[in-house]
Amino acid sequence: MSGITGREGTFHSLRNREYGTQVVAGVTPGKGGQDVEGIPVFDTFHAAVLETGANTAMIFVPPRFAADSILEAEDAGVELIIAITEGIPAHDELRVFNTLKKNGRSRLIGPNCPGILSPGKANVGIIPAAFFSEGNVGVVSRSGTLTYQIGNVVAQSGFGNSSIVGIGGDPVPGTDFIDVIAMFQDDPDTELIVMCGEIGGDAEERAADFIAANVTKPVVAYIAGFTAPPGKTMGHAGAIVSGSHGTAKAKAEALESKGIRVGRTPTEVAELAVSLLGAARSASSLA
């Protein structure tokens, strides 16, 4: 946990540990040798990895230090880096993305994301685990709170989630829809995939093509931002309609043209997912 000694960093590190995640080390330069409720703190990622064998990093430092912290984690050999920090400069993200791609040894989730939760297994990040139960719906999303909304309806209907992956609302996410959807396709615990997109960029359109060509599991999608005016950033740095590009309508149409169901509201998405799973259940119990 990079930034473990900060107020939010401490709070979420302990929450993740309480959930069952093995939180073995914190990193805060200058505070090496201290501990946070028994979690040892190191000055560098290199020392933390060497001493504890950590293979996953959570980045919780302020935006101006975050790119450096991600690059340090990568340099120390951490395989999975989850960056929660919001507000990292776009050119920093570009440098980080291209460095990680060139070296090819770490995967970055985020930045500006809520993290990953696999109910009943582990939680790295800030997703409130209480609203999700174990199950077979894989969710990948650019938005945190929308995921909670959908996961909650799924749980209330008696179903649950295999994993919830927040890829973040920034213009240069380390991991894209396609990467996560490909993993869900290969994941034996995932029966159905929910993809939760929003305005800006063309990641949803590219995902639509990928799903049509490679995914056999059912996919239900949601797109936020139908009413967003062009040229205004809607909260997330990546959520902006530039000219005629990145509109919700174009994204929904791209998905629907490939036969992917798009719910009009988050509740409808959850209900679609539940009815598809329910139908599959009763079909298999009849067989």
Binding site: P89, H91, L94, R95, I127, L146, A224, G225, A239
Partner: protein
């Protein structure tokens, strides 16, 4: 942050991109003085961030002092497609032999800067791209390597620029790229990039120059660029948006009459959609953020109600880090402080939602009703906004 033309050109000049000599003016007197300093003929240009300034009469050539005065008087205060002109840029007139187009764009899809060059400048580049895509030379640059001389040559040859300006065009592209990186821009666009006819005095050598500038800077990087953070566009400043910014809230003003508050950008965007789907028209986007405390909620209510068009307000909270009881306390405090006169619909779900609803029930606020689902809350607020006559909202 989108810059005005003159702000972009000042950055160009700082990075060695050739631009005509120019001066900034906010009054007729300043404009006339600037025109005399620059010499005639000169061009008086309205500084607003919108296309079609020339067609709207916002760009005029002045041959002498009287014309400069006349044009400055006409353009200052002019309305160009909804934007009022508060600022002018007075610039030396350029002779034009050819008009090209050049840009550096933050291509989020390719995750690399994209440099584009075309000899079809002076017109809408999206139209060129649609009608004649071959006319635009494009090249992605590896951000870890940076822009090399060969990139510039390749673009210039592939775009088919006149052979005598291959070198200066390549140099200009290199400088635009350097500025894109140094100022942490997400867009640097020059349209038109002009080639001058050349003059006998300098041996007939033709020059290239940026005649317009469209620059967008990354807001998240402004902390590293304090000078850029000071740049302002008075024609775009909105009182509610400024108030929200001062209070650290993410607020975007929209055209409708239903005030919206939620937590998390995705959920708020989705709330706007669900309200529109129910037949309503949102007045704003407001993300109170994760972990919102009561004070942030009180502030947010003030910002929402400072827009006089608001006839009803919807709170849509799914508490993760945000605690619903804190949201309820903030709303109760807001009612004590500003006594809103418009109806509120509050949907609280998630962390401590029961406690939040209990607090609201106990406070028994006038005009506040709770709903348990997002869709139901949207329908309710639309119904209330439709029933409420347009009137001043906050007391």
């Amino acid at each position: 942050m989108d810059l005005l033309e003159y702000q972009g050109k000042q950055l160009f000049a700082r990075h060695g991109v050739p631009v005509p000599a120019g001066r900034h003016a906010t009054s007729v007197e300043e404009a006339v003085f600037a025109a005399e300093e620059i010499g005639f003929p000169c061009v008086i240009k309205a500084q607003v961030q919108i296309g079609g300034r020339g067609k709207a009469g916002g760009i005029k050539l002045a041959k002498d002092r009287d014309e400069a005065r006349e044009h400055a008087e006409a353009i200052l205060g002019m309305d160009i497609r909804g934007l009022t002109v508060h600022e002018l840029w007075i610039e030396a007139a350029s002779e034009i032999a050819s008009e090209y187009y050049a840009s550096v764009i933050f291509d989020r899809s390719a995750k690399a800067p994209l440099v584009m060059l075309s000899t079809k400048g002076g017109m809408d580049i999206e139209e060129v791209a649609a009608g004649d895509p071959e006319a635009i030379a494009r090249l992605h640059v590896d951000p870890l390597l940076g822009f090399q001389d060969f990139h510039g040559r390749r673009l210039a040859f592939e775009a088919g620029v006149d052979s005598d300006v291959v070198r200066p065009v390549g140099v200009m592209l290199a400088k635009l790229y350097e500025m894109f990186v140094a100022e942490e821009a997400t867009l640097v666009e020059v349209n038109p990039l002009i080639v001058t006819p050349g003059s006998a005095s300098d041996g007939g050598g033709r020059e290239v120059r940026a005649l317009d500038a469209k620059v967008t800077l990354d807001d998240n990087a402004l902390f590293r660029h304090p000078d850029n953070a000071q740049l302002r566009d008075p024609s775009k400043e909105d009182p509610q948006e400024r108030m929200a910014k001062e209070r650290g809230l993410t607020y975007v003003k929209l055209d409708g009459d239903i005030g919206i508050l939620g937590n998390g950008a995705g959920l708020v965007m989705s709330t706007l959609d669900v309200v529109a789907e129910a037949g309503g028209s949102p007045a704003n986007f407001l993300d109170a953020g994760g972990g919102s405390k009561a004070e942030a909620i009180t502030n947010a209510v003030e910002v929402i109600l400072s827009n006089p068009k608001v006839k009803a307000v919807l709170f849509n909270i799914f508490g993760g880090i945000t605690r619903c009881d804190e949201v309820a306390r903030g709303l109760i405090e807001a009612f004590h402080q500003i006594n809103p006169q418009v109806p509120f619909v509050v949907r609280l779900d998630g962390t401590n939602d029961e406690e939040g609803r209990r607090l609201l029930a106990e406070a028994n606020l006038p005009n506040v009703r709770t709903e348990s689902t997002m869709d139901g809350a949207a329908r309710k607020v639309v119904e209330l906004a439709t029933a409420t006559p347009a009137a001043a909202s906050a007391a």
